[in-house]
Symmetry: C2
Subunit: 212 residues, 2 copies
Amino acid sequence: MLDGIAIVNPGDIEKRSFEMITEILGEKKFPPFHENIIKRVIHATADFEFAESMKISETAVAKAFEAIKSGCNIVTDTKMASVGINRKSIARFGGQIVCYMDDEAVALEAKQRNVTRASVCMEKAAKDENNKIFALGNAPTALIRLVELIKEGAVAPALVIGVPVGFVNVVESKELLKTAGVPYILSEGRKGGSNIAAAIVNAILQMIEDPR
Amino acid sequence: MLDGIAIVNPGDIEKRSFEMITEILGEKKFPPFHENIIKRVIHATADFEFAESMKISETAVAKAFEAIKSGCNIVTDTKMASVGINRKSIARFGGQIVCYMDDEAVALEAKQRNVTRASVCMEKAAKDENNKIFALGNAPTALIRLVELIKEGAVAPALVIGVPVGFVNVVESKELLKTAGVPYILSEGRKGGSNIAAAIVNAILQMIEDPR
């Protein structure tokens, strides 16, 4: 082994990582269940700003548990998020991970209407009633269109994970989500990402599969 | 359209994002080529810390251009990174994106030897001479094993992108990469991620495909 590298058993790496996160968070306290979600986001990013910026609405975790246990699908706005989610765990409950970003009909329609593919994906996703959880880690245009659809009564998600990243309408899209009247988990500000969307879903799945 | 949301043409969102990044970076200057890589990492994360923490060795970009143009493969340590990379662009040059993390033989061998799957993946990747670029955004154990293999003379990458994220041996693995004697692009500190590994490869591909 090389100099300066600690020897850690492969099976203990994740446990040790979470111990380090807990040590660094120090006195900071979160509601039950919220803590697991926030720590998993920090584990995925090594960015402790999320301890402040993550906002989880009161019924979000309970509604997500209920929806997943009833076999709902998870909709993502990127393939990266969809491959990052624990697919086997979702399948055990009877659900699927759904992403329409590579759908050629979606791409064509977006071009014709001069809107983003991500927003057309949300319209498509809204048509399947089993699409109950939306995990959006990339496109603010997806989140904005989803909130519009919610306000029009076209879709009623059990949970919207709103963690798009970037600069154009990103901050605004997350503020908008707070007004949608549905359970949400979001990161205030510009930060977010597909890895974070996946980490949040995985934290929820882990709490259902391994309740402590 | 909803209150507070700026109307931006879908085709202009990325351009406007990069203008905002440039504005926020202000007077900060980077070497040619390095700037595109660092801005794309900031675009993927909205995290300006990367303007300081990204370290790019002198020949890294030139060696990457050469290797990609000659049709080399890109090795990743996660499926998330592999789906985040512009696969069509790599294919145009004759290369592939390679990830062995879902390989059952790799999983079995890792278990038997009590090492991580990621490190066994690097051993497997080292056996194919066309695997010239390694883009590691997750597992420090992959990066550590890769540096060992380089030092043993078992593999000679044209470029190692070392951006694992997290807590156990992450900082150390990137410091180790600096000593490997190969061209590198890395993020000092704990931050990194599969999204960042993909963003760096995509920045390089874009500079080759669309030289300005």
